[in-house]
């Protein structure tokens, strides 16, 4: 039996299949590109040739697109990304005390004590330091994002970049470029600025204790890891499947859920070939004027959400 986890994030859509022993059997890292349905279908097209519907014992979804993903695949568990990340990290190493997670659009800190989450925080006002910002800077400097971290590590000195806000950080970077600093130094400075920003905003007032896990897409950036270690003065560990932790967590949560309920809602891999459409309309039922999203599979409505009263979303028991 296998367990499927789907994490639909702002930048990437991750699918993971775990085997009976909770080991990662298959992992897919796809770009969401603003089209969550297409991304899930793309992933399922790969999986459908390798696995049968009956082999999947449980499905969990997470990420900002967890609702839409759940409607599509028939999830057993729909969980927020904070819990999913914590569950996956604890499964990888039960001694983890702090999780630093930086994804495409948001960054989080999760504090764990005696194996349970005791505190967490998410970035509120600013997206500086998240994956999309680094992506954009890499593009601007014409350096592949995969090599971004290496540049930072090669730099001997560092340039101080104002990292309070993404827009100002970018202008400051341009300014430093015009002054003639080399790329490596600027990138290292940028990593340090982002870490400063993270610790001051997200990590403010939180006790960061070892063992620290650094996960999410940005953990691939060696420069960021080095900057965190320097700022915190402790080693930061990167779990093996750092960019899949959300999906792994979702699969684990779904596994637990199905062990309690006994059966899965999984709809099968066929949806890869279905035609989906999503329409939104403003409900005129009352003065709330909710924006309702309607998802159709082959012209049959499979789910609605966005309404407060349940007039649309409760009509179909998903």
């Amino acid at each position: 039996m296998y367990y499927l986890g789907v994490d639909v994030g702002s930048v990437s859509t991750d699918l993971v299949i775990l085997d009976q022993d909770k080991q990662v059997k298959e992992k897919l890292y796809l770009r969401t590109k603003g089209k969550p349905i297409a991304a899930i279908q793309e992933g399922f097209r790969v999986l459908m040739n390798k696995y049968e519907k009956a082999e999947i014992a449980a499905v969990g979804t997470t990420g900002s697109g967890r609702q839409i993903a759940s409607t599509l695949v028939g999830a057993d568990a729909v969980k927020n990304e904070i819990t999913a990340h914590a569950v996956a990290a604890l499964d990888a190493d039960d001694e983890v005390r702090t999780i630093i997670e930086i994804g495409g659009q948001d960054s989080k800190i999760i504090v764990i004590k005696n194996g349970i989450v005791t505190d967490f925080a998410m970035n509120t006002v600013c997206a500086a330091g998240t994956g999309s910002f680094l992506d954009r800077q890499a593009e601007r400097l014409e350096i592949p994002i995969e090599e971004f971290g290496d540049y930072a590590l090669q730099a001997k000195t560092t340039v101080r970049i104002a990292g309070r806000c993404a827009v100002f950080a970018e202008s400051d970077m341009i300014h430093k470029q015009q002054m003639g600093y080399n790329e490596g130094e600027i990138i290292r400075g940028l990593c340090e600025a982002l870490v400063r920003n993270y610790l001051n905003n997200v990590g403010k007032g939180k006790e960061i204790q070892s063992k620290v896990f650094f996960q999410g897409g940005v953990a691939a950036n060696k420069g960021m890891k080095a900057a965190f270690e320097e700022a915190l003065g402790i080693t930061v560990a990167i779990p093996e499947h750092y960019n899949m932790m959300g999906a792994i967590g979702a699969a684990l949560i779904a596994k637990d859920k199905v062990e309690k309920t006994g059966s899965t809602n999984f709809k099968g891999f066929d949806l890869a070939e279905s035609v989906f459409s999503a329409n939104s309309f403003e409900c005129q039922g009352c003065s709330n004027n909710c924006e309702v999203v309607k998802i159709q599979e082959n012209e049959i409505v499979i789910g609605c959400f966005g309404d407060r009263c349940g007039k649309w979303s409760n009509k179909l028991a998903v």
Partner: protein, 365 residues
């Protein structure tokens, strides 16, 4: 004279009952929505707090329906709310709307005489007898107390109900039908009926639900639109919630404030952390957090609008309480830029956190 007022949770029920009993023409603005917020944000200064913007939206909608007089509550406390009436009058004047503002303030600040003079302005347009006017006021306070009671009961029982969603359904029905009632008497009868229905909801007494106290800035905790309907969401998760601040609480506090006998329990609870009144309801917020812990709640959620001075102070104190008492507290800041996805993620994760703590007894060691 056609009276209107800004929305704040259940206040509109009391206002409707009062004006109908007094036989005064009035307009209930459409419920706060994205549209009211958009209009309000358009006309207000960018850094102004969220309640101000939503209120402006309410006035503009009411003006479209012919309102010419606004009743709002005032406050001479050290927080921006004290300036609301002046700023709003100014703003609406500049937009070319000649509105009369009647500011109901605490008798401790403006004196009983002035308060009665202001209230007299409202009642002068009513043709019923003086005795009936007093009766109308009394009935209106009963309405607000009752609907706050119905709401508090439904929110608390939501964690214990056998059939999921029953309490929420009853609460929504009650509010929906109360809007169609004429005068206070029928409204009270209807609400009493729903109170009985809530008493008869099938409960699962073996359940041990997560209990969360909602604390923070008064407007954003009471007006559901401004906090993105957090209490409804928590009801859906099967969480029992309690909120001390409500329109009826405010009323009682207002009446008792000149005697200094108001909120004795909250003041006592807050004493260790914040012994002074620093404006807004910061001291109450601290007191409620301590009280919620003492009452065996699992956690608290603090909500306040971006830039709210008193609540920023309490936000800085809450981590200490959280640490001292091992009591999780989540802080949510709302303004017109609040994205619902991140907001819901935090609430869900907080509920998960409380659930896992509860299952894991060791964590409390």
């Amino acid at each position: 004279m056609k009276i209107t007022f800004p929305h704040m949770g259940n206040v509109h029920f009391a206002a409707k009952a009062l004006f109908e009993d007094l036989e005064i023409d009035y307009v209930v603005p459409p419920f706060s929505s994205k549209a009211s917020l958009e209009i309000g944000s358009f006309h207000s200064a960018e850094e102004m707090c969220l309640p101000f913007k939503i209120m402006i939206g309410n006035y503009m909608h009411a003006i479209e329906e012919g309102a010419d007089t606004v009743i709002i509550t005032g406050s001479c406390g050290p927080c921006r709310f004290g300036e609301y009436c002046e700023l709003q009058m100014n703003l609406l004047n500049k937009l070319g709307h000649k509105l009369d503002f009647i500011v109901v303030d605490s008798p401790g600040d403006i004196g009983v005489k002035e308060l009665f003079a202001r209230l007299g302005k409202i009642s002068s347009s009513s043709s019923i007898s003086k005795l009936n006017k007093i009766r109308a006021l009394h009935q209106a306070t009963k309405v607000v107390r009752l609907i706050d009671g119905v709401e508090a009961k439904a929110r608390y029982l939501a964690g214990f109900e056998k059939n999921k969603g029953e309490c929420k359904k009853l609460l929504n029905e009650c509010k929906q039908e109360a809007q169609n009632c004429k005068k206070s008497q029928s409204m009270l009868a209807l609400m009493n009926g729903y109170m009985d229905k809530l008493d008869n909801v099938a409960l699962d007494n073996d359940k041990n639900p997560i209990k969360i106290a909602i604390i923070g800035e008064i407007y954003t905790v009471i007006e559901p639109f401004s906090n993105l309907y957090i209490e409804d969401k928590l009801m859906d998760y099967g969480v029992s919630t309690k909120r001390t601040l409500s329109p009826s609480w405010w009323l009682k506090n207002l009446v008792l404030s000149p005697t200094n006998l108001n909120q004795l329990d909250l003041k006592r609870k807050a004493k260790e952390y914040l012994p002074l009144m620093i404006g807004g309801h910061a001291r109450e917020c601290i007191g409620e957090a301590v009280l919620a812990h003492d009452e065996g709640f699992d956690g608290a959620i603090q909500i306040f609008p971006m830039g709210c001075m008193p609540e920023i102070v309490s936000k800085a104190i809450l981590p200490k309480i959280s640490k001292d008492k091992d009591f999780p507290i989540l802080t949510l800041v709302v303004d017109e830029m609040t994205g619902e996805a991140g907001y819901v993620t935090r609430i869900e994760a907080f509920v998960d956190l409380l659930e896992r703590r509860k299952d894991n007894v060791l964590s409390r060691c």
